[in-house]
Amino acid sequence: MPIQVLMPALSPTMEKGNLAKWLKKEGETIKSGDVIAEIETDKATMEVEATDEGTLGKILIPEGTADVAVNTPIATILADGESAADLAKAPAPAAKAAESAPPAAAKAEAPAPKAAPAPQAVAEPDPEVPAGTEMVTQTIREALRDAMAEEMRRDADVFVMGEEVAEYQGAYKVTQGLLQEFGAKRVIDTPITEHGFAGVGVGAAMTGLKPIVEFMTFNFAMQAIDQIINSAAKTLYMSGGQMGCSIVFRGPNGAAARVAAQHSQDYSAWYSNIPGLKVVAPFSAADYKGLLKAAIRDPNPVIFLENEVLYGHTGEVPKLDDFIVPIGKARIVRSGSHVTIISWSNGMTYALKAADELAKEGIEAEVIDLRTLRPMDTETIINSVKKTGRAVTVEEGWAQSGVGAEIAARIMENAFDYLDAPVARVSGKDVPMPYAANLEKLALPSAAEVVEAAKAVCYR
């Protein structure tokens, strides 16, 4: 029976990709290991190697097709002795291309969005964006890159360093194109040496340079946490204000997909515990851009927590010469009067889905995207809770000593008399992140848990 070649998954978070090019034609002989096609993801272009021998029977997905879902059959290979007549015997395709195979030329004219927009039921206009501003649709990955590029154009003291940021164009392609524009002096590949290069960055910042230090993930920054906390966060104070450190530590934080315990930790609570640091953890593409620009300009050390799951998500980013979102301001992204749901970063995914679900049951949730964890915008939280009388926090990190615990304490301190129910926390489960898909899903928060918590505080 003919063998099906399936669209391969090239990274833990890849769901679809573009079939850029076929390197073999129908009827050509194929040996195991031959490169038969090129697949493009938003991160990279990868070659597809044949693992079977035979003849390329039929190309099922023509080149130039965008958004082909992982596991979609893209071709069939005929074994020795089989002919085109056997093609009919191939099993029916398990999945279909997301788009109906637009040819390459058409794609160039009307590019399909690279990924589904993040579930942002944004009801409230962004106060940072003037009315009537033209918006562009961008992935979060592109928004981050543009933020860095704009700041590097503006200030020669800004440079970016980290593992694979230059030649490789970023492990997650966030620094794509920066080496080409700014050169190797300002886009610096480091050895795999987190503790060392974090210290080098802090030392450079003490002289007034403004490093952007990329960690391939914040899990690896644990190797560097002494320099982040003892050197970056405390020097201004220890020097009586003489010497500080304008530096951004950025990279993906928290769970990605199926990368297990050592690659999935959420450090929101860890860094937000430290005076001297600012901690930012945005959700929308616009906030990613505006807050990263603010972080680079900030004279203090800023921990910029990104989320790998969100990198490919698209959103509307204001087309402004200099779009800055101030650090330390939360945003009400959906207004409601029955319960306040507070989250940040990817936690917003659950919060917003839950708000949709709750609305169907007549519960209007007010959803606050905290955006900055330190300094925390207590005022926005408190004002909302005074209105709703109920609050649910949502975080991917662990509950004990978590950011949700801090929010609950602040609500108790500032709005105790307004509460109609104890604050509820939805969080990652109190276990190391498991690998198995079902267990991983259970370990993370879900929209259903947020719905349940919101109903509980509403006594419904």
């Binding site: 503790h195 060392g196 290069f197 210290g199 450079a204 340079l209 104070y237 220890m238 009586g240 010497m243």
Partner: protein
């Protein structure tokens, strides 16, 4: 007690060539004497104030090691940066920081370099290019490499002088820094102050490779062992290393063979070595006595040397007086300088 056999061979042998270092001019000898005396008298006074309870916390004295910072400073140019660990009072005085400000920081007063918020281990001076004063053993090595990175980035021709001890030399980030410094040819002089004890642990008990000048071999960083008790040898080595760095050839390692007379900190009774060992170094190799004896041999009068003693004592006494009478920081200072 198994006092290390190396004690006799000494804290201080120039193993590289054995030749005598270049002579100092009389002015250089007098300058070195004054600078080293200032550090010694300052540290003795700090020890006294600690005993009186005027200085709290940790206090690590530099007595015995004075020739290292003074000789190195004589090899530097304006703009070169200095960074070190927690045994930092000598480095600060050598860079020209004011004795009053340093002593007042030790006593936790508002006139201290960090307004009383840093203490003995955490002081800085942007003006004098002194980047601390770091309490985490080895952290200053990556930071100092970062200072050199900034010099390289700006192309300003300055050199970062990054001091650390034989103890810190075993920290992992030292080698991460060595690798990047050589890879990127950063202008940094790594000055390893080998005073033979990491707190209470002799080098022989902690270090597989006890020749610290070779610690950069696998990164192709040149290194040199220097008699850190002879200020002339230190200056000459410092000039060689600085020239190497300024020529764009990358980092250079100087192992300064030196000795600390006092305990690791004020609370260390130093039971891990014999009194005889300490006395022998003091008697045979004291960095200040070496200069004093050369000056006397060169017919500088006792009276001239006493005048220097008196001047230094005045500065130190004035700093102690200032540091005990300057007010404590205002309570409002608790909340300042967290962010800017």
């Amino acid at each position: 007690m198994a006092a290390p056999k190396k004690a006799a061979a000494g804290a201080a042998q120039d193993k590289t060539d054995g030749a005598s270092p270049p002579e100092f001019t009389r002015e250089q000898e007098l300058k070195a004497l004054r600078e080293m005396l200032l550090i010694r008298r300052f540290e003795e006074k700090a020890g006294q104030l600690y005993g009186m309870g005027a200085i709290g916390g940790f206090c690590h004295l530099y007595i015995g090691q004075e020739a290292v910072v003074v000789g190195m400073q004589m090899a530097l140019k304006e703009g070169d940066q200095v960074i070190t660990g927690y045994r930092d009072h000598g480095h600060m005085l050598a860079t020209g920081m004011d004795a009053n400000g340093v002593m007042a920081e030790l006593t936790g007063r508002r006139g201290g370099y960090s307004k009383g918020k840093g203490g003995s281990m955490h002081m800085f001076s942007k003006e004098k290019h002194f980047y601390g004063g770091h309490g985490i053993v080895g952290a200053q090595v990556s930071l100092g490499t970062g200072l050199a990175f900034a010099n390289h980035y700006r192309g300003n021709g300055n050199v970062s002088v990054t001091y650390f001890g034989d103890g810190a030399a075993n920290q992992g980030q030292v080698y991460e820094s060595f690798n990047m410094a050589e890879l990127w040819k950063l202008p940094v002089i790594y000055v390893i102050e080998n005073n033979r004890y990491a707190m209470g642990t002799a080098v022989s008990r902690a270090s597989a490779q006890q020749d610290f000048s070779k610690r950069g071999v696998s990164f192709n960083i040149p290194g040199k062992q220097v008699d850190g008790m002879d200020v002339r040898a230190v200056k000459a080595a410092g000039e060689e290393a600085a020239a190497w760095c300024r020529a764009g050839k990358g980092p250079f390692i100087l192992e300064m063979q030196t000795y600390r007379y006092r305990g690791h900190s004020m609370s260390d009774p130093a039971k891990y070595r014999t009194r005889e060992e300490v006395e022998k170094v003091r008697h045979d190799q004291d960095p200040i006595e070496q200069v004093r004896n050369r000056l006397l041999a060169a017919k500088v009068s006792e009276a001239d040397l006493k005048a220097i003693d008196a001047e230094v004592r005045d500065i130190v006494n004035a700093s102690a007086d200032f540091a005990q009478h300057d007010p404590e920081p205002d309570a409002a200072e608790l909340w300042t300088d967290v962010y800017r």
